[in-house]
Amino acid sequence: MLEEQMDILLGILYTILGNDYWWGPWIRGVIGLCAMGGIMVAAMFAVWLERKYASDIQSRIGPNRVGGKYGLLQLIADAIKLFTKEDIKPDKVDGPVWAGAPILMFGSALLMIIAIPFGAFIFNGVTYPLAVTQFDISILYLEAVSAIGIIGIFMAGWGSNNKFSVIAAFRNIARMIGYEVALGLTIVSVVIVTGSLNIVDIVEAQGSVIWFAFVMPLGFVIFGVSLIADMGRVPFDQNEAEEELIAGWGTEYSGMRFGLAYFAEYIHMVLGSCIAVLIFLGGWNMPGFLVDLHIPLIGLLPAGIFLAKWVLVMMFVIMIRWALPRIRIDQVTSIGWKVLFPLAMVNLVWAAMIGLVWPW
Protein backbone atom coordinates (compact mmCIF):
# COMPACT_ATOMS: atom_id res chain seq x y z
CA MET A 1 0.00 0.00 0.00
CA LEU A 2 2.64 2.43 1.15
CA GLU A 3 4.98 1.35 -1.58
CA GLU A 4 2.31 1.96 -4.18
CA GLN A 5 1.75 5.48 -2.93
CA MET A 6 5.46 6.15 -2.86
CA ASP A 7 5.71 4.91 -6.39
CA ILE A 8 2.98 7.24 -7.53
CA LEU A 9 4.64 10.17 -5.73
CA LEU A 10 8.02 9.38 -7.19
CA GLY A 11 6.44 9.06 -10.57
CA ILE A 12 4.99 12.54 -10.32
CA LEU A 13 8.32 13.94 -9.14
CA TYR A 14 10.10 12.21 -11.95
CA THR A 15 7.70 13.66 -14.45
CA ILE A 16 8.25 17.12 -13.10
CA LEU A 17 12.00 16.98 -12.75
CA GLY A 18 12.70 14.96 -15.81
CA ASN A 19 10.70 17.21 -18.01
CA ASP A 20 12.56 20.16 -19.37
CA TYR A 21 9.36 22.08 -19.74
CA TRP A 22 8.62 21.89 -16.03
CA TRP A 23 12.18 22.35 -14.87
CA GLY A 24 12.34 25.41 -16.94
CA PRO A 25 10.95 28.79 -15.97
CA TRP A 26 8.12 27.53 -13.77
CA ILE A 27 10.14 25.66 -11.21
CA ARG A 28 12.73 28.39 -11.19
CA GLY A 29 10.04 30.95 -10.67
CA VAL A 30 8.66 29.01 -7.73
CA ILE A 31 12.14 28.62 -6.26
CA GLY A 32 12.72 32.32 -6.75
CA LEU A 33 9.57 33.22 -4.87
CA CYS A 34 10.46 30.78 -2.11
CA ALA A 35 13.95 32.22 -1.91
CA MET A 36 12.55 35.73 -1.75
CA GLY A 37 10.27 34.84 1.13
CA GLY A 38 12.83 32.58 2.68
CA ILE A 39 15.50 35.22 2.73
CA MET A 40 13.18 37.57 4.58
CA VAL A 41 12.49 34.89 7.14
CA ALA A 42 16.19 34.09 7.30
CA ALA A 43 17.05 37.72 7.89
CA MET A 44 14.47 37.91 10.62
CA PHE A 45 15.93 34.77 12.06
CA ALA A 46 19.35 36.38 11.85
CA VAL A 47 18.15 39.39 13.81
CA TRP A 48 16.57 37.13 16.39
CA LEU A 49 19.70 34.99 16.58
CA GLU A 50 21.85 38.06 16.98
CA ARG A 51 19.78 39.35 19.87
CA LYS A 52 19.38 36.02 21.55
CA TYR A 53 22.96 34.89 21.18
CA ALA A 54 24.27 38.28 22.26
CA SER A 55 22.12 38.07 25.35
CA ASP A 56 23.51 34.62 26.08
CA ILE A 57 27.05 35.90 25.79
CA GLN A 58 26.29 38.85 28.02
CA SER A 59 24.44 36.91 30.74
CA ARG A 60 21.13 38.47 29.84
CA ILE A 61 17.77 36.96 28.98
CA GLY A 62 17.15 38.70 25.69
CA PRO A 63 13.83 38.90 23.86
CA ASN A 64 11.27 36.95 25.85
CA ARG A 65 7.80 38.38 25.45
CA VAL A 66 6.50 38.50 21.87
CA GLY A 67 6.06 35.00 20.52
CA GLY A 68 6.56 32.82 23.50
CA LYS A 69 9.35 32.37 25.96
CA TYR A 70 12.09 32.85 23.39
CA GLY A 71 10.68 35.96 21.78
CA LEU A 72 10.56 34.43 18.33
CA LEU A 73 8.14 37.00 16.96
CA GLN A 74 9.95 40.00 18.42
CA LEU A 75 11.03 41.20 15.03
CA ILE A 76 7.48 41.20 13.70
CA ALA A 77 6.53 43.52 16.53
CA ASP A 78 9.54 45.69 15.70
CA ALA A 79 8.57 45.74 12.05
CA ILE A 80 5.03 46.84 12.90
CA LYS A 81 6.51 49.57 15.05
CA LEU A 82 8.81 50.72 12.26
CA PHE A 83 6.03 50.66 9.67
CA THR A 84 3.69 52.72 11.78
CA LYS A 85 6.26 55.35 12.70
CA GLU A 86 6.07 58.82 11.27
CA ASP A 87 8.12 59.21 8.13
CA ILE A 88 10.36 62.12 9.01
CA LYS A 89 12.16 63.77 6.16
CA PRO A 90 14.69 66.34 7.30
CA ASP A 91 14.38 69.71 5.65
CA LYS A 92 17.67 69.99 3.85
CA VAL A 93 18.29 66.49 2.58
CA ASP A 94 18.88 65.83 -1.08
CA GLY A 95 15.45 64.29 -1.60
CA PRO A 96 15.76 61.63 -4.33
CA VAL A 97 19.25 60.57 -3.31
CA TRP A 98 18.28 60.35 0.31
CA ALA A 99 15.07 58.44 -0.37
CA GLY A 100 16.64 56.18 -2.97
CA ALA A 101 19.51 54.98 -0.83
CA PRO A 102 17.66 52.39 1.31
CA ILE A 103 15.90 51.08 -1.78
CA LEU A 104 19.19 50.65 -3.58
CA MET A 105 20.72 48.90 -0.58
CA PHE A 106 17.78 46.58 -0.25
CA GLY A 107 17.66 45.97 -3.98
CA SER A 108 21.31 45.06 -4.21
CA ALA A 109 20.87 42.58 -1.40
CA LEU A 110 17.91 41.03 -3.18
CA LEU A 111 19.75 40.85 -6.51
CA MET A 112 22.25 38.53 -4.90
CA ILE A 113 19.55 35.96 -4.22
CA ILE A 114 19.17 34.74 -7.78
CA ALA A 115 22.70 33.40 -8.09
CA ILE A 116 23.00 31.62 -4.77
CA PRO A 117 22.02 27.93 -4.54
CA PHE A 118 20.38 27.41 -1.17
CA GLY A 119 21.23 23.76 -0.85
CA ALA A 120 20.23 21.09 -3.32
CA PHE A 121 17.62 18.51 -4.01
CA ILE A 122 18.94 15.08 -4.91
CA PHE A 123 16.66 12.73 -6.74
CA ASN A 124 17.58 9.55 -8.51
CA GLY A 125 21.26 10.39 -8.13
CA VAL A 126 20.83 13.65 -9.96
CA THR A 127 21.55 16.88 -8.07
CA TYR A 128 19.17 19.73 -8.62
CA PRO A 129 20.60 22.87 -6.96
CA LEU A 130 17.91 24.99 -5.37
CA ALA A 131 18.99 28.09 -7.20
CA VAL A 132 16.88 30.52 -9.09
CA THR A 133 19.23 30.55 -12.03
CA GLN A 134 22.34 28.68 -12.91
CA PHE A 135 24.73 30.65 -14.96
CA ASP A 136 28.40 30.18 -15.53
CA ILE A 137 29.69 33.32 -13.87
CA SER A 138 27.54 33.32 -10.77
CA ILE A 139 30.38 34.05 -8.33
CA LEU A 140 31.50 37.02 -10.38
CA TYR A 141 27.92 38.21 -10.52
CA LEU A 142 27.65 38.01 -6.73
CA GLU A 143 30.82 40.04 -6.26
CA ALA A 144 29.59 42.67 -8.66
CA VAL A 145 26.10 42.95 -7.26
CA SER A 146 27.09 43.06 -3.61
CA ALA A 147 29.23 46.12 -4.32
CA ILE A 148 26.18 48.07 -5.46
CA GLY A 149 25.00 48.28 -1.86
CA ILE A 150 28.01 50.40 -1.05
CA ILE A 151 26.82 52.97 -3.54
CA GLY A 152 23.59 52.98 -1.58
CA ILE A 153 25.46 53.73 1.63
CA PHE A 154 27.32 56.54 -0.06
CA MET A 155 24.06 57.96 -1.38
CA ALA A 156 22.66 57.85 2.14
CA GLY A 157 25.72 59.60 3.54
CA TRP A 158 25.80 62.27 0.91
CA GLY A 159 22.07 62.84 0.62
CA SER A 160 21.54 63.20 4.35
CA ASN A 161 23.32 66.56 4.49
CA ASN A 162 24.86 65.55 7.78
CA LYS A 163 28.52 65.62 8.72
CA PHE A 164 28.42 62.35 10.58
CA SER A 165 26.76 60.64 7.65
CA VAL A 166 29.25 61.88 5.12
CA ILE A 167 32.20 60.83 7.26
CA ALA A 168 30.63 57.40 7.57
CA ALA A 169 30.11 57.20 3.83
CA PHE A 170 33.72 58.06 3.13
CA ARG A 171 34.86 55.52 5.66
CA ASN A 172 32.70 52.93 3.99
CA ILE A 173 34.19 53.58 0.58
CA ALA A 174 37.73 53.49 1.96
CA ARG A 175 37.07 50.21 3.68
CA MET A 176 35.37 48.70 0.68
CA ILE A 177 38.28 49.49 -1.62
CA GLY A 178 40.72 47.95 0.82
CA TYR A 179 38.83 44.75 1.41
CA GLU A 180 37.06 44.02 -1.84
CA VAL A 181 40.48 43.39 -3.43
CA ALA A 182 41.47 40.75 -0.89
CA LEU A 183 38.00 39.22 -1.06
CA GLY A 184 38.17 39.07 -4.83
CA LEU A 185 41.63 37.53 -4.81
CA THR A 186 40.60 34.71 -2.47
CA ILE A 187 37.59 33.98 -4.66
CA VAL A 188 39.86 34.00 -7.69
CA SER A 189 42.11 31.47 -5.98
CA VAL A 190 39.12 29.19 -5.46
CA VAL A 191 38.20 29.68 -9.10
CA ILE A 192 41.73 28.81 -10.21
CA VAL A 193 41.57 25.51 -8.38
CA THR A 194 38.17 24.49 -9.69
CA GLY A 195 38.46 26.07 -13.07
CA SER A 196 34.91 27.35 -12.98
CA LEU A 197 33.11 30.52 -12.01
CA ASN A 198 29.91 28.63 -11.32
CA ILE A 199 29.12 28.17 -7.66
CA VAL A 200 27.51 24.79 -8.25
CA ASP A 201 30.71 23.52 -9.84
CA ILE A 202 32.72 24.85 -6.92
CA VAL A 203 30.51 23.03 -4.43
CA GLU A 204 30.63 19.81 -6.36
CA ALA A 205 34.41 20.03 -6.62
CA GLN A 206 34.55 20.12 -2.84
CA GLY A 207 32.23 17.17 -2.52
CA SER A 208 34.51 14.84 -4.37
CA VAL A 209 37.75 15.67 -2.58
CA ILE A 210 37.98 18.03 0.40
CA TRP A 211 36.65 21.42 1.42
CA PHE A 212 38.55 24.45 0.30
CA ALA A 213 38.78 25.71 3.87
CA PHE A 214 41.29 22.89 4.46
CA VAL A 215 42.92 23.11 1.06
CA MET A 216 43.82 26.78 1.60
CA PRO A 217 43.35 27.75 5.23
CA LEU A 218 45.11 31.05 4.67
CA GLY A 219 42.65 31.91 1.97
CA PHE A 220 39.76 30.97 4.23
CA VAL A 221 40.95 33.28 7.02
CA ILE A 222 41.45 36.14 4.58
CA PHE A 223 38.05 35.48 3.08
CA GLY A 224 36.44 35.45 6.51
CA VAL A 225 38.03 38.72 7.64
CA SER A 226 37.22 40.43 4.35
CA LEU A 227 33.68 39.14 4.42
CA ILE A 228 33.08 40.51 7.90
CA ALA A 229 34.53 43.81 6.73
CA ASP A 230 32.27 43.65 3.71
CA MET A 231 29.23 43.05 5.89
CA GLY A 232 30.25 46.00 8.05
CA ARG A 233 30.14 44.25 11.39
CA VAL A 234 32.30 44.73 14.47
CA PRO A 235 35.30 45.02 14.44
CA PHE A 236 34.79 46.63 11.04
CA ASP A 237 31.63 48.64 11.59
CA GLN A 238 33.28 52.02 11.31
CA ASN A 239 30.55 53.27 9.01
CA GLU A 240 27.96 53.19 11.76
CA ALA A 241 30.12 53.48 14.84
CA GLU A 242 27.54 54.77 17.22
CA GLU A 243 30.03 56.04 19.77
CA GLU A 244 31.82 58.17 17.20
CA LEU A 245 29.32 58.96 14.49
CA ILE A 246 25.95 58.58 16.25
CA ALA A 247 24.51 56.20 13.66
CA GLY A 248 26.82 56.84 10.74
CA TRP A 249 25.04 57.01 7.41
CA GLY A 250 21.74 56.20 9.09
CA THR A 251 21.67 59.27 11.31
CA GLU A 252 18.91 61.03 9.41
CA TYR A 253 16.74 58.00 8.71
CA SER A 254 13.80 56.94 10.77
CA GLY A 255 10.80 54.66 10.56
CA MET A 256 10.67 52.19 7.73
CA ARG A 257 13.40 53.87 5.72
CA PHE A 258 15.76 53.02 8.52
CA GLY A 259 14.12 49.61 8.81
CA LEU A 260 14.76 48.86 5.16
CA ALA A 261 18.41 49.74 5.36
CA TYR A 262 18.81 47.85 8.60
CA PHE A 263 17.15 44.82 7.10
CA ALA A 264 19.32 45.06 4.01
CA GLU A 265 22.37 44.81 6.25
CA TYR A 266 21.08 41.63 7.79
CA ILE A 267 20.22 40.17 4.39
CA HIS A 268 23.75 41.01 3.40
CA MET A 269 25.01 39.13 6.42
CA VAL A 270 22.79 36.14 5.70
CA LEU A 271 23.89 35.93 2.08
CA GLY A 272 27.53 36.52 2.98
CA SER A 273 27.38 33.57 5.34
CA CYS A 274 25.80 31.53 2.54
CA ILE A 275 28.66 32.38 0.20
CA ALA A 276 31.22 31.43 2.85
CA VAL A 277 29.50 28.08 3.30
CA LEU A 278 29.27 27.50 -0.44
CA ILE A 279 32.77 28.26 -1.60
CA PHE A 280 34.82 27.30 1.42
CA LEU A 281 32.84 24.97 3.65
CA GLY A 282 31.63 22.46 1.13
CA GLY A 283 28.15 23.78 0.49
CA TRP A 284 25.58 21.03 0.88
CA ASN A 285 28.18 18.26 1.11
CA MET A 286 28.40 16.11 4.19
CA PRO A 287 31.17 17.05 6.62
CA GLY A 288 34.23 14.86 6.14
CA PHE A 289 34.01 12.98 9.43
CA LEU A 290 30.43 11.95 8.66
CA VAL A 291 31.16 10.64 5.17
CA ASP A 292 32.19 7.28 6.59
CA LEU A 293 28.68 6.76 7.95
CA HIS A 294 27.49 6.43 4.36
CA ILE A 295 24.27 8.30 4.98
CA PRO A 296 22.69 8.50 1.54
CA LEU A 297 22.35 12.07 0.37
CA ILE A 298 18.81 12.05 -0.88
CA GLY A 299 15.88 14.42 -0.98
CA LEU A 300 16.24 17.64 0.95
CA LEU A 301 18.97 16.37 3.26
CA PRO A 302 21.65 18.40 1.45
CA ALA A 303 19.60 21.54 1.96
CA GLY A 304 19.44 20.67 5.65
CA ILE A 305 23.17 20.25 5.83
CA PHE A 306 23.58 23.58 4.11
CA LEU A 307 21.22 25.22 6.58
CA ALA A 308 23.06 23.80 9.58
CA LYS A 309 26.40 25.02 8.31
CA TRP A 310 24.90 28.40 7.59
CA VAL A 311 23.58 28.75 11.15
CA LEU A 312 26.98 27.87 12.56
CA VAL A 313 28.72 30.43 10.39
CA MET A 314 26.17 33.05 11.40
CA MET A 315 26.69 32.29 15.05
CA PHE A 316 30.41 32.69 14.63
CA VAL A 317 29.97 36.03 12.89
CA ILE A 318 27.64 37.18 15.67
CA MET A 319 30.02 35.97 18.35
CA ILE A 320 32.86 37.99 16.83
CA ARG A 321 30.75 41.09 17.00
CA TRP A 322 30.27 40.82 20.74
CA ALA A 323 33.77 39.61 21.54
CA LEU A 324 35.89 42.36 20.03
CA PRO A 325 36.24 46.11 20.20
CA ARG A 326 35.97 48.16 17.06
CA ILE A 327 39.21 49.16 15.35
CA ARG A 328 39.99 52.51 13.86
CA ILE A 329 39.45 53.34 10.21
CA ASP A 330 43.13 53.97 9.47
CA GLN A 331 43.98 50.64 11.06
CA VAL A 332 41.28 48.97 9.03
CA THR A 333 42.63 50.23 5.75
CA SER A 334 46.21 49.53 6.73
CA ILE A 335 45.32 45.94 7.64
CA GLY A 336 43.51 45.60 4.35
CA TRP A 337 46.32 46.87 2.18
CA LYS A 338 49.41 45.91 4.14
CA VAL A 339 48.41 42.54 5.56
CA LEU A 340 45.47 40.99 3.78
CA PHE A 341 46.37 42.01 0.24
CA PRO A 342 49.93 40.54 0.28
CA LEU A 343 48.65 37.41 2.02
CA ALA A 344 45.93 37.08 -0.59
CA MET A 345 48.62 37.21 -3.27
CA VAL A 346 50.52 34.46 -1.45
CA ASN A 347 47.32 32.47 -1.32
CA LEU A 348 46.85 33.00 -5.03
CA VAL A 349 50.25 31.47 -5.74
CA TRP A 350 49.42 28.58 -3.41
CA ALA A 351 46.10 28.08 -5.20
CA ALA A 352 47.85 28.04 -8.55
CA MET A 353 50.15 25.30 -7.31
CA ILE A 354 47.21 23.32 -5.95
CA GLY A 355 45.37 23.84 -9.17
CA LEU A 356 48.15 22.08 -11.09
CA VAL A 357 47.54 18.86 -9.18
CA TRP A 358 43.78 19.20 -8.61
CA PRO A 359 41.87 16.91 -8.31
CA TRP A 360 44.16 14.67 -6.36
Binding site: Y53, S55, D56, S59, R60, I61, M319, W322, A323
Partner: protein
Protein backbone atom coordinates in the same frame (compact mmCIF):
# COMPACT_ATOMS: atom_id res chain seq x y z
CA UNK B 1 45.58 37.12 20.09
CA UNK B 2 41.86 37.54 20.01
CA UNK B 3 41.22 33.85 20.62
CA UNK B 4 41.16 34.44 24.36
CA UNK B 5 38.14 36.68 23.89
CA UNK B 6 36.36 34.08 21.78
CA UNK B 7 37.02 31.46 24.42
CA UNK B 8 35.63 33.64 27.18
CA UNK B 9 32.53 34.55 25.19
CA UNK B 10 31.74 30.94 24.25
CA UNK B 11 32.23 29.89 27.87
CA UNK B 12 29.87 32.59 28.93
CA UNK B 13 27.19 31.37 26.56
CA UNK B 14 26.60 28.37 28.78
CA UNK B 15 26.46 30.27 32.05
CA UNK B 16 23.05 31.16 33.42
CA UNK B 17 21.85 34.67 32.91
CA UNK B 18 22.03 37.06 35.84
CA UNK B 19 19.16 39.31 34.89
CA UNK B 20 15.55 38.67 35.73
CA UNK B 21 12.23 39.28 34.07
CA UNK B 22 11.35 42.61 35.53
CA UNK B 23 7.74 42.83 36.63
CA UNK B 24 7.23 39.07 37.05
CA UNK B 25 10.17 38.41 39.32
CA UNK B 26 10.27 40.96 42.14
CA UNK B 27 13.45 42.76 43.06
CA UNK B 28 15.11 41.57 46.20
CA UNK B 29 15.88 44.56 48.32
CA UNK B 30 17.96 44.53 51.44
CA UNK B 31 16.51 44.75 54.94
CA UNK B 32 17.60 48.33 55.34
CA UNK B 33 16.14 49.45 52.07
CA UNK B 34 14.86 52.98 52.29
CA UNK B 35 11.46 52.75 50.67
CA UNK B 36 8.17 54.46 51.38
CA UNK B 37 7.44 55.59 54.90
CA UNK B 38 5.22 54.02 57.48
CA UNK B 39 3.82 55.90 60.43
CA UNK B 40 3.02 54.48 63.83
CA UNK B 41 -0.08 56.20 65.13
CA UNK B 42 0.62 55.52 68.78
CA UNK B 43 4.19 56.73 68.76
CA UNK B 44 3.82 59.88 66.66
CA UNK B 45 3.62 62.99 68.77
CA UNK B 46 3.27 65.38 65.86
CA UNK B 47 6.36 67.35 66.84
CA UNK B 48 7.19 68.40 63.29
CA UNK B 49 10.90 67.67 63.48
CA UNK B 50 10.59 65.54 60.37
CA UNK B 51 8.98 68.41 58.50
CA UNK B 52 11.68 70.79 59.68
CA UNK B 53 14.54 68.59 58.62
CA UNK B 54 13.24 67.46 55.23
CA UNK B 55 15.66 68.87 52.62
CA UNK B 56 13.03 68.91 49.90
CA UNK B 57 10.21 70.05 52.21
CA UNK B 58 8.12 67.09 51.20
CA UNK B 59 6.71 66.66 54.69
CA UNK B 60 3.97 68.80 56.13
CA UNK B 61 2.21 68.53 59.44
CA UNK B 62 -1.56 68.31 59.08
CA UNK B 63 -4.51 67.80 61.35
CA UNK B 64 -5.94 64.27 61.37
CA UNK B 65 -7.47 64.04 64.75
CA UNK B 66 -4.04 64.94 66.16
CA UNK B 67 -1.11 66.41 64.29
CA UNK B 68 0.51 63.98 61.90
CA UNK B 69 2.95 64.26 59.01
CA UNK B 70 1.83 64.12 55.43
CA UNK B 71 4.43 63.14 52.84
CA UNK B 72 4.61 64.07 49.20
CA UNK B 73 6.41 61.12 47.60
CA UNK B 74 6.75 63.08 44.40
CA UNK B 75 9.30 65.25 46.16
CA UNK B 76 10.69 62.80 48.68
CA UNK B 77 14.21 61.64 47.87
CA UNK B 78 14.28 58.88 50.46
CA UNK B 79 17.34 60.22 52.24
CA UNK B 80 16.05 58.98 55.58
CA UNK B 81 16.85 62.11 57.59
CA UNK B 82 13.27 62.33 58.89
CA UNK B 83 13.45 58.73 60.09
CA UNK B 84 16.77 59.39 61.81
CA UNK B 85 15.49 62.41 63.64
CA UNK B 86 12.11 61.11 64.71
CA UNK B 87 12.40 61.35 68.51
CA UNK B 88 9.94 58.53 69.13
CA UNK B 89 10.82 56.27 66.19
CA UNK B 90 7.31 56.67 64.90
CA UNK B 91 8.34 57.17 61.30
CA UNK B 92 10.04 54.17 59.69
CA UNK B 93 10.80 53.14 56.17
CA UNK B 94 9.45 50.04 54.48
CA UNK B 95 10.74 48.06 51.54
CA UNK B 96 7.86 49.24 49.40
CA UNK B 97 8.87 51.36 46.43
CA UNK B 98 6.62 50.47 43.51
CA UNK B 99 3.77 52.56 44.88
CA UNK B 100 5.87 55.70 44.65
CA UNK B 101 5.27 55.89 40.91
CA UNK B 102 2.15 57.44 39.55
CA UNK B 103 1.11 59.46 36.51
CA UNK B 104 -0.81 61.72 38.88
CA UNK B 105 1.45 63.71 41.13
CA UNK B 106 -1.35 64.46 43.57
CA UNK B 107 -1.89 60.75 44.08
CA UNK B 108 1.62 60.68 45.50
CA UNK B 109 0.71 62.93 48.39
CA UNK B 110 0.19 60.50 51.20
CA UNK B 111 -1.83 61.74 54.09
CA UNK B 112 -1.53 60.40 57.65
CA UNK B 113 -4.17 57.76 57.02
CA UNK B 114 -2.30 56.29 54.07
CA UNK B 115 0.99 56.48 55.91
CA UNK B 116 -0.52 54.56 58.78
CA UNK B 117 -2.05 52.08 56.35
CA UNK B 118 -5.56 52.71 57.66
CA UNK B 119 -7.50 53.58 54.54
CA UNK B 120 -7.12 53.40 50.77
Amino acid sequence: MVLKNFEEMIKNTFRPSVTRLCPEVPTEVSDRYRGMHKLDRDKCIGCGICAGTCPTRAIRIVRYGRWFPMIDFGHCMFCGLCVDQCPNDALTMTKEYTEAISPDRYALIYGPAQLMGEED
